[in-house]
Structures are given as C-alpha cells and as structure tokens.
C-alpha cells in the first residue's frame, strides 16, 4: 500500500508568521490523530523575509516529503517565486492566493497548477482582530478535511495567555476561511481517524539529537553557534541544567572541541554540535581525541558546502571530511541518523560507542531532518548508556599504571583524575603503553593496532544499518542509501512493492568503521542496486565502491543539495534498473 497523504505549503513574506501558522496546523493535525512532517525554508534575511512551511499529513508515520504538493497557500507573493524548485507543483496541484496581492509569480506556474483566489485580507478585515493567516488555515482545514475542533483545541492552548477575545478572533477568522473552502477547487482530503491511542511525540531532529546525548549520559557540552546546529544547543542548555549538566558557549570551535576533550578526560561524558565550517576547525583536535583515547561525540548538522555555502539548507556532503578528514591513520567512529526520530537513537548510540571504545564518534545529521518537526510514535526506550572502562587504584602500591596498556579488545582501563596511584599524562604524541612519548616504529605499530582493533572488534549488533524488504520479499534489487535520503528511499520501496516489485532497502547508520561482512550478508542474492545520496560528487557511492563488494549492476543516483529526492525519482531509477535500461 502506498501512503495516503496530503502535502501542502504555506508561504508568505511574513517570516516567522508562516512558520507559526505551519506549527499550528501541525499541532492540529496531531490533535486530529494524523501523523505529520513539517520542514521549513527561508530566504537569506536574518529576520522576516519570505518563508515557506512544507507540510505533509498522513494516517500513518511519514519520513519524507512527496514528489509534489497538492496545495500552495500563499499569504502574499513577495519573493515566493524563489522557492519554486523546492515546491514542485503539477497539473493537479492547486495554488490559492489573495487577489489583494495580485497574480501568482510565473516561476510557480511551470507545472501548470490550477489556481484559485481566496480574499484572505478582505475576509480577515471583516472580523475584529482577524488575521489573514488564520483565514488561510481555515481554508486549508476545509480543503484537507481537518476537523475545526482540532484547531480549536490548539488555538486555545497557544493563545491562552492572550485571553478569550484573542482566541475568539482567531477562531472566527479560521471558521470564515473554513466556510470559504467550500468554493475552492478540491484537493484530496485525508480521512478522519480515531484519536491516537498509542503515545505520540512532536519533536524536531535537533531536539531529538539533544535528548539522545543526554539519554546516553552526556553532561558537559561546549559549543559555538552555527546554523543549522544552534537549536541542538538551545535545547540542550536548559535541559542539561535540569539533569545536573552544563553547556558552555566557547569562543570558537577550536575551543569547543578542546573543552570537551578536557571535560571527558576529567571523566564527564561530553559532546559538541556544529555544522561543516565548525567541523573543519575541529579536525586537528579530533585526531588528538583519537591518539589520546578520549571519548567524545561531535554532531555535524550538515548544510550545503563548501565554505559558508548555503547555511540554511541541507546537503549530505560532509561524508568525506567526516571519514577521511583527519591527518594520519586515525580510527574513529562515524554514524549517521536517517530520520527525525532516528536522531535520538543514533546520537544515544554514539555516546555509548564513544564511551565504550574511548574514541571520538562523529554523528552526521542534516538541516533537513534537524530543523524538521514530525509527529511520530513515541520512540522506544534504549539501553545504550555511555559506560567507560575505568581503572581502579593499583593492587600493588607503586606499580606503574599503563594508560595505553595492550589488551585483547584494544580498550585499556582509563584512570580518571582524582584516582590515587594512577597519575599519568595522556598524550597526542605517539607513545608507549605508559603514555610516554615515543618515536619508535614498534610503539607506533602497537598503538596503531590497538586503536584500530578497538573499533574493528566491537560488536555493533544490527544497528550498523536499517534493512527493510518489500512485503513480498527482497527480490534481487537493492536501494543503498544513508541519512536524509533514507526517507524518500523508504517510500520508493513501498511504491515499488505496491506495483508488484520486490526490493531491499539498506540504509547505513554506521559509516565508519566499514562493515564488509555485514554488507555482504545484506547483499546476498542482490543483483542490482541503486545508491542514493544528496552529494554532487557522489561521495557515498565512491566510499561504497572502495570498501564493499557491490552488485555488478550498481548505479549512482546523486545530486547536490538543497533539493531532496522525491520518492518517485528513486522509484523511476528502480524501474529503469529492472528494465535493463539503467
């Protein structure tokens, strides 16, 4: 079965107003028992300016946007044409605009969508303190079948402090819009559902990231603000304080990474969050964490690069720097979240991995999932808690402690400052077992082996990838992907299966160290594959080629950001693969 859903955009020049309207709609949809996903896009202005809230509603969980939108509700037209590539409209789509603001910009009309007028300003003007935004929300509710009671509940909650008059004015405007929807051309309606019985959450990827690290045990965060990672920090600062942790705003990313190295050396699990430019600055010290064996987590909420790139938009192009950016041979962990709720799972897992292996773990998320809000089933409790192998005071007084002792697992018990009899110096210089600097080939070899053994021998269980087959089986075709591209790939798999196709989705969560044996098992019987990623140069495809045995017919579907893949784009590629024309 394909997903029964409605997709719409609210756009306008009102900046935050549009996003607020989108949030109200998302909350109302949740109230009505629907699942929802909301992303946003905005122009380059710091405040105000054109903005768009992209929403999709469904009666089951959704991870991705659709290929096109059913409805574009424009509060006004200022610069909205700039979003045309991000708001694909087709002949069955409907644009609703306010005649007070003139005709729709030509840039939006390429897909020949239907057009209709809704005099939002006029209608709102007839209501005391009526706002065009609420008229628009009313019309949307009428068009998609959202019950007014759901909005009533949400408005009452959000305007409680402003008093009953404000609530009444908002709802009057909403009802006027709802009534006007009867005269608008139809778009698909979603069926009403019984209110949700199982618990659900409303959460963004960036919030889920913050919660994940706290659940994993992180209690010290140092960071420098950067879009689109700042919300992770804004959520963490007050939340850490509630659970006995702290967040320090550092002077730059060189400081944030080194502060968390210091805190973690002191025995407190620590993390930082940044985006590409900040990660670039942290690289030298990530190598220090590898060499000195200091556990820590760095989250990179990826944005379009290189350089400052497009700060507000998404791309999966930091894979190379995350995997290969460090100088020397520097075994470290790279994991990637593949959806809004998976930001919670993956970051919590990352804390567990970093602490268990005494190594830095990089987590890749991106703007698309970080700044998206989703209504999701309540995420499961996870057992991952950061647990470090620590050293206790020596049995024999005076026996010298070996910080980097050779062990079968490669992990050596770590002495936390304050522990008697185990003083030592942790060092980024190559060293022997005691930590004493050494330039001998044999020490380098032994320590390299140890640092790499920690990671290769670790049991990552099933979490290395999310693997999903179409209901009728895997067949001989696979989609291999990672991160944000997993959402549309999942949906493509469903559409493919609905048309009778069989395929397997493999979404890698553990990017490094690579897992050739697990991949070989996952690719058993697979003859064709498409690799999907949002990178101009196909970084993921090249990495797979370097480390994995891929099916003879493997094609790469890649493009740079900020446009996400639509499920049909991936579906088409699957069809072509099997038609033999790829």
């Amino acid at each position: 079965m394909t997903i029964n859903s409605v997709s719409l955009v609210i756009a306008g020049s009102g900046g935050a107003g549009v996003v607020t309207a989108g949030s109200l709609l998302l909350d109302a949809a949740a109230q009505a028992g629907w699942y929802a996903l909301m992303s946003r896009s905005s122009g380059p202005q710091i405040r105000g300016g054109e903005a768009a809230a992209m929403l999709r509603f469904a009666t089951e969980p959704i991870m991705s946007h659709d290929d096109s939108f059913h409805l574009l509700m424009a509060i006004d037209w200022d610069n909205i044409g700039r979003f045309s590539a991000e708001i694909p409209l087709v002949a069955t789509s409907l644009i609703v605009g306010d005649p007070a603001h003139g005709p729709a910009p030509a840039a939006l009309l390429g897909g020949t969508p239907r057009q209709a007028a809704l005099a939002m300003t006029d209608i709102a003007g007839k209501i005391e303190n009526g706002r065009p935004n609420m008229v628009a929300l009313g019309a949307i509710a009428g068009l998609i079948g959202l019950p007014p009671e759901a909005m009533q509940a949400v408005v009452e909650k959000s305007l409680k402090r402003k008093g009953q008059a404000a609530i009444d004015a908002s709802m009057a405007a909403f009802h006027a819009g709802f009534a006007a929807a009867a005269d608008l051309p139809a778009i698909p309606k979603l069926p009403a559902v019984a209110a949700a019985t199982e618990p659900r959450w409303s959460i963004t990827g960036n919030e889920a990231t913050g919660l994940g690290v706290i659940r994993g045990g992180v209690r010290f965060v140092a960071a420098y603000p950067i879009t689109p990672a700042t919300e992770v920090l804004e959520w963490l600062a007050p939340s850490l304080a509630k659970v006995g942790g702290m967040l320090v705003q550092a002077e730059d990313e060189l400081a944030s990474i080194n502060q968390i190295i210091g805190a973690s050396y002191g025995g407190v699990p620590a993390m930082t969050a940044t985006s590409g430019p900040g990660l670039s600055l942290m690289i030298e010290s990530l190598g220090l964490a590898v060499a000195a064996e200091v556990p820590l987590v760095v989250v990179d909420v990826m944005r379009v690069g290189p350089s400052t790139g497009i700060a507000t938009k998404s791309e999966q192009s930091d894979l190379n720097i995350a995997v290969y950016g460090l100088h020397g041979d520097a075994p470290h962990i790279v994991v990637a979240a593949n959806s809004v709720p998976d930001c919670l799972f993956t970051t919590q897992w990352a804390v567990h991995l970093a602490e268990a292996m005494q190594a830095p773990a990089l987590v890749l998320t991106d703007q698309a999932m970080g700044q998206a809000r989703a209504i999701v089933p309540k995420p499961a409790e996870l057992a991952f808690i950061g647990q470090r192998l620590t050293a206790a005071a020596p049995a024999v007084e005076g026996e010298r402690y070996k910080r980097y002792a050779m062990t079968a697992s490669g992990v050596s018990p770590m002495a936390i400052p304050g522990t008697r009899g185990l003083t030592h110096t942790a060092d980024g210089l190559e060293h022997n077992e005691f930590g004493t600097p050494s330039s001998q080939a044999s020490d380098h070899q032994a320590q390299m082996d140890k640092r790499s053994r920690k990671l290769t021998q670790f049991n990552y269980g099933d979490h290395w990838a999310d693997i999903e087959d179409s209901e009728v089986g895997a067949g001989d075709t696979a989609i291999i992907t990672w991160g944000s591209s997993t959402g549309p790939a999942r949906e493509a798999l469903r559409r493919y299966a609905a048309a009778g196709g069989k395929a397997r989705l493999i979404s890698l969560r553990l990017i490094a160290p690579v897992q050739p044996e697990k991949m070989a098992a996952a690719l058993q019987g697979i003859k064709r594959a498409v690799v999907v990623e949002q990178s101009h140069s196909g970084q993921f495809y090249r990495m797979l080629r370097a480390f994995y045995e891929l099916p003879a017919r493997t094609v790469s579907l890649h493009h740079g950001g900020p446009l996400a893949f639509g499920p049909n784009q991936i579906l088409e590629q699957l069809n072509q693969l099997n038609a033999g024309s790829a």
């Binding site: 080194n258 805190a263 304050g418």
Partner: protein, 280 residues
C-alpha cells in the same frame, strides 16, 4: 575519596616523574619545572588531585615530567582543554604550562577568552621570545629587530605582543612576572597564583639557550620589582605599559572578580521530565 585525617607532607621530588626532559642543557624550563613541583609540595596537594595541561612546544613538555595527572594536547589549545577539565572537575587544581608561541600566537584567541572567562586556572607561560621546538623562529614576543631566523632575516619589523597588558585588559585576575633564574621567588609566586581564585597569569622569563643564547644575560638584567602589587586595574595598566619587561619576582596585579564557575546544579529534574515535553 577518603577524608584525609592528617595532611601528608610532600617534597618537591614527589611531584616529579622519572622521565628525563628532552630539553637542552641550560634551558630555563628546568627551573620552571622545579618551581612548579616545589609550589605543589608547599601547598601539599595530593598528586592525584592536580592536573597539568599543555599544548606543543619545548615548554609544553612539562606535564609528563610531573607525577600529577597530565594532558599534552595540540599546539595552542591547552587553555580550552584546561577550561573544560576545570569546569567538569572543579575539585581538581588545574595548571596550564606552555610557551609564548603556543599561548600568544596560535592560541591567542583562547588566551583572551581564558582571561575574560576567569576560570580558576593557573597559566604559566615560559616566554623565551622564540619558537624553541621548531628551531628558532620569531614568536609574538620577539623584538622587531631580531635577525636570528631564516624566516625573518631582517627581523619581523612588528612590535612585540605585550602578554601582561593584554592579559590585564582581557580580565586576568592575577598577574605576575618571574625569572627562571630565581627559583625560590618563582615557586613562591606560583603558590600565590594557584591559591588566588580565578585566572592567574604568570609570565616566566625562561631563556632559550640554544636559539637565543643572548638571553643568558637576562639573569643579570632582571631586577626585583620595587612596588608591591595593586588591586587597581588602572594603576596596574599604567605600570605594565611603562615597564621594560624586566621587573620580576613580584605579583603585579590581584583582582577580585569572582571566577566563572557554573554549577553542575542538579535541579532534581529527570530525563523522563525532559521527554514529557515532547509528548502529545
């Protein structure tokens, strides 16, 4: 940790490791190491409750030569490592050791912000006006007409950085200058620096006998500062701006700004409470 019923007495050697320093014979850093261990003994701090953090350079090698907890990181980043450690572990006594290049060039921004943030750290900078470890290039504190480096054969032509003036302006809470030729005073001032709350900056004139052999004359040039310390920043500024860099052996400034010490205050919140905010 057991509450020690009686304070154990320590000797300076209890704070020294068995490792033989890589330094050139006669390097000023030897006596700095001695002064640090002497100061720690004087304070009778259990070695496991002290940490020495450093970056990269000859002077940054100190942690491994001590018997306390040490962290030898990357070039220029000792102060942020120490900041994170002290904030996470306020129970530890944290010292930072390094050179003029490490602290004022590559780590310059951290220096400004460490002074400003005023975390309870003691920063001991062995200033030899040169990059010793990389074999003798000009550092931020090198005189503009020093022609001893192939990189700048005609001198840098740039006025030297004034660490104490900049430190004061940036908010350091304790400022002193000492000479490595006077180990007794050096140790005494380090004791004071460690005891003073907030960020303490101690500049040590520590000759690089190999690349700046003329610095061996420093022992004859330095003089004990005549005036005692002030707690008035404006007066300290005037003094530091007119001083020739050779007044040593006294504390120059002591401020009373409270240290930056965010608490790990457990407000008895729970992760479950945080999660509840997402529930519909």
């Amino acid at each position: 940790m057991e509450s020690c019923a009686q304070k154990k007495k320590y000797a300076a050697k209890d704070y020294k490791s068995d490792l033989k320093p890589i330094w050139c014979p006669g390097c000023g850093d030897y006596t700095v190491l001695n002064a640090i261990t002497r100061a720690l003994a004087e304070l009778a701090l259990p070695p496991e409750e002290v940490a020495v953090v450093s970056g990269i350079g000859c002077s940054s090698r100190i942690p491994a030569y001590t018997s306390v907890y040490g962290f030898h990181g990357v070039h220029g980043r000792a102060l942020p490592v120490a900041t994170g450690l002290k904030l996470a572990r306020p129970d530890l006594t944290v010292l930072v050791t390094g050179g003029d290049g490490d602290g004022f060039s590559i780590g310059g921004n951290h220096f400004l912000h460490a002074c400003r943030r005023n975390v309870d750290l003691t920063y001991i900078v062995m200033d030899n006006q040169v990059y010793g470890m990389t074999k003798g290039q000009a550092s931020p504190t090198t005189a503009p007409d020093w022609e001893g480096s192939k990189l700048t054969p005609e001198g840098t032509g740039i006025n030297p950085f004034q660490p104490l003036v900049v430190g004061l302006a940036s908010g350091a809470n304790f400022i002193a200058r000492v000479s490595s030729s006077d180990p007794i005073n050096m140790a005494r001032i380090m004791v004071e620096a460690i005891q003073h709350p907030g960020f303490s900056l101690v500049q040590v004139l520590s000759p690089c006998v190999t690349f700046r052999p003329e610095q061996q004359e420093w022992r004859d040039i330095v003089r004990t500062a005549v005036v005692d310390y002030t707690d008035d920043a404006a007066r300290a500024a005037r003094r530091l701006m007119t001083d020739d860099g050779f007044n040593v052996g006294k504390v120059l400034y002591k401020g009373s700004r409270p240290p930056f010490r965010p608490e790990f205050e457990n407000t008895n919140g729970s992760v479950t409470e945080l999660e509840a905010r997402f529930a519909l």
